[in-house]
Symmetry: none
Subunit: 196 residues, 4 copies
DNA sequence: GATGAATGAGTGTTCATTCAT
DNA sequence: TATGAATGAACACTCATTCAT
């Protein structure tokens, strides 16, 4: 009776995610996806325009979930300082991705974490996924604290880009340092970027 | 007298670069390259393993040239402060890419500016391209100055990743700000990251 | 009281005609037709075997209407000479198709005007559309006049084939002459073919 | 040493013709053609743009050959009267097609005999196939005779269209008459159309 | 070293048709 | 009667790679 997402659509998303993270988007064909989902090829086109639409939907859903989880977890702590809150979330995400390097590769190979990506944002909006973003958290945090951040959007943007572009190499290749050694530098950099 | 790269190889590199920046790597076939270079298709395989090898070689060569040019230009100025030297180079590169957005796309869509990328670094080494890197400049600069930078490699790495990941969107999409408005924030961030 | 064609069937015929003349038969899918008719896909198969059945029905109905209109219009004139009557009808049809080149393409690309086409004639019979054909007009005309036409069916057949095969190129491509310049030659040819 | 048409290209043309006449152009896929020709699928695209290019080439070649043969045969006769020459050629073509109804279908289903078709004419020109056309024969014939034909191009055009559109049904379906019974009517019609 | 004809696995996409509801 | 989700065979077309010359 209740509105359930079609089984087939769900299967396709599941299989696509599995294959994308296993073999990469480029090396996954639509044939692979429908084989794995055990549906007809035409069924794919009933729900998605092409491989890239399903990819973007997956990035939006998965990254939204990850950030929401991070924020939920933050809420359970006593951390009040905004800078430390940001660092907490960054660490939460890093730790999660450290344990899921496949997901890490999937995210980073495909349009960063998507927080500022137009195509992805479109999907967020289409699916009402935008309740608790880092940005709203950050903006509220600045209001509530007595921090003076000149242009908070830009600052957060720089932090996210810095984190995402450095951590990929650090987690995957231990370059320029293994992630655990790199973290303090990153925390330090974040503190400098936030504080005047 | 010295070993000159074969005419054919040179032609292929030239044509590949032209086509990659015109149409993108994905939409350039090996057929396109050999047609433009006016050599046989088999000849391509005499010099390169595949399309991606020629792409990586081009990124290494072109980015090396850009940085060398930036450093040469810096030498002609009177700037002595290391932080300002880094900012000068960053601006030099930004201004260059602003005028060559196609080159920008080519670099950024393909493995960042490549300064810390393994595949690219392999090529640097294979071709002895590593004389005047930003890193040696930076390290020397710190020695000569009385700056206290704890881990200069990591700091420079973070600066480069921050610059490259933010500037692409800024130059191409004016997001989160047009590049000229974004620059002061970037300069500010670089100053914070370098200075204790 | 009498058997009215189902609303759905009527809708499908209407939509199919619209789409066939807009985009051509080949480029119109059954999906297009049922979308336009606002009925379910399965409904199509309730009334028609496939796309080509609906096409043939449309050709039969539309060409029948066009000839009937031509004959009605002829009746309002004072033309008594049979040859001139045939020419009048030919011109009526040409003028109509000149104003509806899309319909022209639809007719001609699909089995001539259908007057002697087996599949189409089958439909004429199935639908009792055969009251006022050119053939009966022509045969009656010969009886009533004192013309000596050896084999009137064959003669009319040749005239119709001549007209239909030449006029398509003339109206659409102005080849070998624009239709208005071509008409006198055609009239002349018809006169020769009818008169001994 | 001498310029031979590639074996593969020749094979493809041969197989395509065989399959087109057996099953029709629409029901022949490129896969069918390359299977029959025993070459790789890519080889097809080395020589032809698509199915329709190979079709048009075949129509041009085959129809050119047929008309040339007809004219050669005419030269061996003593027929001097232009009208009778035209009728001779028409009969030659009809008789040939009567014996090759598959070729007949192939021609007629695809753009008439191609004498006035733009796409086909392009191929004629590209291949220098245009030495002895019916048109040049007809024009010369009129010059040499003392016939008064107002617009010979248009007249010949009408004759060819009349013949081709009527004979198809006559040969294939015996409608409106079997071809041998229809011929006299056709001859008669041709005589009327040529003579003032 | 240099060539380019030949290959065929692989791709994304379409669409007539079925059938459980 | 009416539906439309599901299907999968079929399609045209691409292109990296090979290899005989």
């Amino acid at each position: 009776m209740c509105a359930v997402a079609s089984n087939k659509e769900e299967s396709l998303l599941k299989s696509a995610f599995k294959l994308f993270t296993e073999k990469g988007v480029k090396d996954t064909s639509i044939q692979d996806i429908v084989n794995d989902a055990d549906v007809g090829k035409g069924t794919f086109y009933l729900y998605f325009k092409d491989k890239y639409e399903i990819r973007d939907i997956l990035i939006a859903k998965k990254s939204n979930k990850l950030f929401n989880d991070a924020i939920k977890s933050l809420r359970k702590t006593e951390i009040k300082d905004l800078t430390e809150q940001v660092i907490y979330i960054v660490d939460y995400v890093i730790d999660y991705l450290k344990k899921n390097p496949i997901l890490l590769k999937f995210f980073f190979k495909n349009l960063s974490l998507g927080l500022y990506n137009k195509a992805i944002n479109k999907i967020y909006e289409d699916n009402g996924l935008y309740e608790n973003t880092m940005l709203t958290l950050f903006l509220k945090g600045i209001e509530e604290s007595n921090l003076k951040v000149k242009n908070p959007e830009v600052t957060l943007y720089m932090i996210i880009e810095l984190v995402s572009s450095t951590c990929f190499n650090s987690i995957i290749y231990d370059e320029p340092l293994p992630i655990e050694e790199f973290k303090p530098h990153l925390h330090n950099a974040i503190r400098k970027l936030i504080n005047e």
